[in-house]
Amino acid sequence: MADYRGIAVFCEIKGDKLLPIAAEGLGAGRRLADALGQDLSAIVVGSNIAGVAPQAIMYGASKVYAVDDPLLKYYQADAYVNVMEKVVKQIMPAVIIMGQTDIGRDLAPRLAFRLGTAVTMDCVDLAIDPESKRLLQTKPVYGGNAHAVFTTDTNPQMVTIRTKAMVATVPDSLRKGEVVNIPAGLQAADIRTKVINRVLEEVAGIKIEDAQVVVSGGRGIGGTEGFKQLEELAKLLKGAVGASRPPCDNGWMPDTVQVGLTGKIIAPELYIAIAISGSSQHMSGCSGSKTIVAINKDKEANIFRYARFGVVGDWKKVLPAFTAKIKEMLAS
């Protein structure tokens, strides 16, 4: 066990930029590394990614392992699992951190089982047990109704972290670090899947992940028409429109704006939940918002347990008046 040392963060990138989830992973990793008195390293995998390593160092890594190969241009499980298996066997980290993203969800379990260890998905808290020095891995279970703390005796200890649950380190461009290039050693035949196309369905305007204000609607909105009214308010507040799952399942809103455990995890300054009951799975995606406001006709609705401000009433009547009032306030 003593052979496994240090924290390694698998850093997701887009083009040649580190994604926010990677910076959050490095932030969490830095704190664990300090608690253990060990090193923090970053693993970056992709094609033409020479520009990424300095960013990982800026965000706290003292060593960056880079695997740069044309076969790694896009994420494919077979390629990435093979490469990560090779890198991990070389660096033998005590802890591996990844993001709970469409890539992390796919890669982490495959890699964990390939390595003969385990992984805890979607952690919201990570700490080192002062006695055993093992990683305490806290994750929501039962759709967010409960939290569970897990540990493993196997190495490396692997986790994925929830978006926006961990604080990134303040970037420091003076920080020094070492870059180690590792050849991928992949053959095209190792990759059994083939990506034929990548389709982006992004909505126009501000993305809900980036918006400071999100106006979200639930099943009680009733259809596309209703969401137009939410859009009006969102536009006024320079925000974006989100939804609970039923409006997405019903095709009133695109799937990409679903907020929740199996949708987007967001933490805007202001989250206005309209005709949303506040299921634990939905709240998993927005409970980190600074201020939650609820409009719901049912005063017993669970959403009021999370909301800071609220109105009990029919949104069809309350929302137009609310939007008008906000417009008036913003004008004056």
Partner: protein
């Protein structure tokens, strides 16, 4: 096409959060007053299998692991249109982690023998782990595609639309393969009367650990790699300030005032 769908019985994830209770001594949870249900994402996997069966023909076998499995719950996929049901039903199978559960499921898949496609939900509503599908793929050494929103079968391959944060990827994978299914696949169908009658006549096949040739030290709680040290309910303060007013206009205006005072926008 031989399709195996893995789906389990869970406490009702959509029961009101107020009915959720924890038995901290045993690290167990329940939904007071709500009967168990078929795991919703597993149900999407069943739906996906039936869509493929409609398009290509074939047989859908449902595989479920647990103990105290209620027949009206685990037989629901049969009522929806699946053909056979295999239960790994034994106390020894339970309280496992993704790894020990997937080991048992993979052993059962091998015993079933013929398969082109193994479908699972994208994650279970109790563990929210999303690892069983990928783990089965690793054990069996077959490829895996997660988060499917559409599956088409042609020429020994599956063409899958895989959900990503900004849209979807179109991925092709040779069969046999494991695919995990997301809700974007479309609402699961309701059982028909005819389906319910047909399901009544199908007896599930029940296997014990010895039937799938697996050592009890490798399954359930005994086979866990992830140890659970604590299960608890996070606390929400719940001090919501409700806007007052007689009319919708007053309510709305008072809410807007409160937000401005709090500098929320």
């Amino acid at each position: 096409m031989n399709i195996i769908v893995c789906v389990k019985q869970v406490i009702d994830p959509e029961a009101p959060p107020s009915s959720f209770k924890i038995d901290a001594a045993n690290n167990k949870a329940e939904m007071k007053g709500a009967p168990p249900v078929l795991d919703p994402y597993g149900e999407y996997a069943v739906e996906a299998s039936l869509k493929i069966k409609e398009a290509k023909g074939g047989k859908v076998t449902v595989l479920s692991l647990g103990s105290g499995l209620m027949r009206e719950v685990v037989k629901k996929p049969l009522a929806m249109g699946a053909d056979a049901l295999v239960l790994l039903e034994d106390e020894a199978f339970t309280a496992g982690d993704s790894w020990s559960t997937a080991g048992a499921l993979a052993a059962a898949v091998k015993k079933i023998g013929q398969y082109d496609l193994i479908l699972c939900g994208r994650e279970a509503s109790d563990t929210n782990a999303g690892q069983t599908g990928p783990a089965i793929a690793e054990v069996l050494g077959v490829p895996c595609v997660t988060l499917a929103r559409k599956i088409e079968i042609a020429d020994g391959k599956a063409k899958i639309e895989r959900v990503t944060s900004g849209g979807y990827d179109i991925v092709e994978v040779p069969l046999p393969a494991v695919v995990t299914v997301s809700n974007e696949i479309g609402e699961p169908r309701y059982p028909t009367i005819k389906g319910i009658m047909a399901a009544k006549k199908i007896e599930p096949v029940v296997w014990k650990p010895a039937d799938i040739g697996i050592d009890t030290s490798k399954i359930g709680a005994a086979g866990r790699r992830l140890k659970i040290s604590r299960l608890f309910q996070p606390i929400h303060e719940g001090k919501c300030e409700l806007a007052a007013g007689e009319t919708p206009e007053e309510l709305a205006a008072n809410l807007a005032l409160k937000l401005r005072e709090a500098k929320a926008f």
